[in-house]
């Protein structure tokens, strides 16, 4: 069962609709049991880092999500669902899920690039290092981006970006003032800064590839 974690951060319905569109049933829930028993958890979300972590704490989901990830179940993070995987964020004082090392930083431009980074930008597919620390092999990585060309456009809306300590987990990068990590891939974790559920054909394709890859 695909589970979309409902923790009160943003528009989960549109993520669910995207799964429906590619022919996969996904349940939106904050029920611990359902999350623990799911075969793929999806953590979307828009809004602030602290609010997200506070909501997860209130719902007692922090340990649940950590457990699911530690057990090796596939985790798909979207936008805020990517950011909370890291240790901390410049956006607030809360600790993140601390499943990945690194932090979330605010875009800080001396030029006049606007913030939030809002709209369609392209992703550069990064061929992972030949010997990823513990990252998935190239062949698996290829499966997720199958049919998605280098420099394809995806929809972004965010003011913060992740800085993973281990650069080898970065699967795509995007340019906005800096060259930042627009998606990461590490063991059973795949997470994107962009919104596949809002990225038309490319986004739906990516979701479908990922769901198939995880065997759901």
């Amino acid at each position: 069962m695909i589970t979309i974690v409902d923790y009160g951060m943003g528009n989960l319905r549109s993520v669910q609709k995207a799964f429906e569109y590619i022919g996969k049933k996904a349940v939106v829930t904050s029920n611990k049991k359902s999350i623990l028993n799911s075969s793929l958890i999806v953590v979307p979300g828009v809004g602030s880092f602290d609010a997200a972590m506070n909501n997860l704490k209130k719902l007692k989901l922090v340990e649940v999500i950590k457990k699911v990830i530690s057990e090796g179940k596939p985790y798909l993070g979207l936008c805020l669902g990517l950011q909370i995987l890291f240790e901390c964020s410049e956006e607030g004082n809360s600790r993140g899920l601390e499943m990945l090392r690194g932090k979330v930083e605010k875009f800080n431009f001396r030029n006049n690039l606007k913030i939030p980074h809002m709209g369609w930008n392209n992703i550069k597919l990064k061929v992972p290092a030949t010997k990823p620390l513990a990252g998935p092999p190239k062949s698996q990585w290829r499966k997720i981006f199958n049919g998605i060309e280098d420099n394809s456009y995806f929809y972004f809306v965010h003011s913060y970006c992740v800085k993973p300590k281990d650069k080898r987990i970065i699967s795509t990068t995007t340019d906005y003032g800096i060259n930042f990590a627009s998606s990461i891939f590490y063991k059973n974790i795949f997470a994107t800064q962009f919104h596949p559920e809002k990225s038309q054909k490319n986004g739906l394709r990516l979701l479908k590839n990922y769901v198939n890859y995880t065997g759901n």
């Binding site: 943003g10 690039l113 709209g119 003032g177």
Partner: protein, 278 residues
Amino acid sequence: MKKKSKYLTGLTKRIIPCLDVDKGRVVKGTKFINLRDAGDPVAVAKRYDTEGADEIVFLDITASHEKRKTIFEVVEKTAENVFMPLTVGGGIRTLDDIRNMLKAGADKVSINTSAVENPNFVKIAAEKYGTQCIVVAIDAKRVQYTGYSIQDTVHNKQIKYKPRWEVYTYGGRRATKIDAIEWAKKIEKYGAGEILLTSMDKDGTKDGYDIGLTSAISSAVNIPVIASGGAGEMEHFYDAFEKGGADAALAASLFHFKELKIKDLKEYLIRKGVKIRC
């Protein structure tokens, strides 16, 4: 105007069709008169999706309160079929209105009159739902004398009047005496994530966006600005981006009645060197 292209960015300029929805149907005249039926909003949105629109804006202009819920159904049905950002505006007054729109499948809401009447609403809404989903719509009209220089006959010198624009509410029916540039700066501080800027002087004229207004607002704030009102030709979009510094350009009837195809417009802009998603 400072060019942004010299900075490292792959971000593209957005083309946004706007659908004015009245009791569940797309209508368009010039702003509030001569409403012409332009079809079923869900079907129109789907068409724009395949034509390569970057986002879609629904503006609910339904006057009667009891018919207002039709917009929810429109948004809901659209969001089942169209996977791109949807903004909904018109009559957003409470946090519940925002929540309902987001629940129906909207990604952003556009607030106009209620932001002017209570700027704190923008703040509270942005805190609750995130700045990324709060668009503030500004309807602005040029104030007399603006942009012209006149002769001061007493001192025999030219006086340059800095152009000024006034904010209007209630769909352009009520003047507020608020300066549009000051207002834009204020709502940015209050947490607006984007500005939907409509020139009332240009709206419906088809002789181009108000470049002076667009440029003045765009350089005054550090959030994205959508230019609106006046698009009639492909060149107008080019001007809005390159001269006005707009991040996105919106048009309605031009696209509805197929006077201009989004695909052709995008090809034109790419040829002219504008960063556009194809």
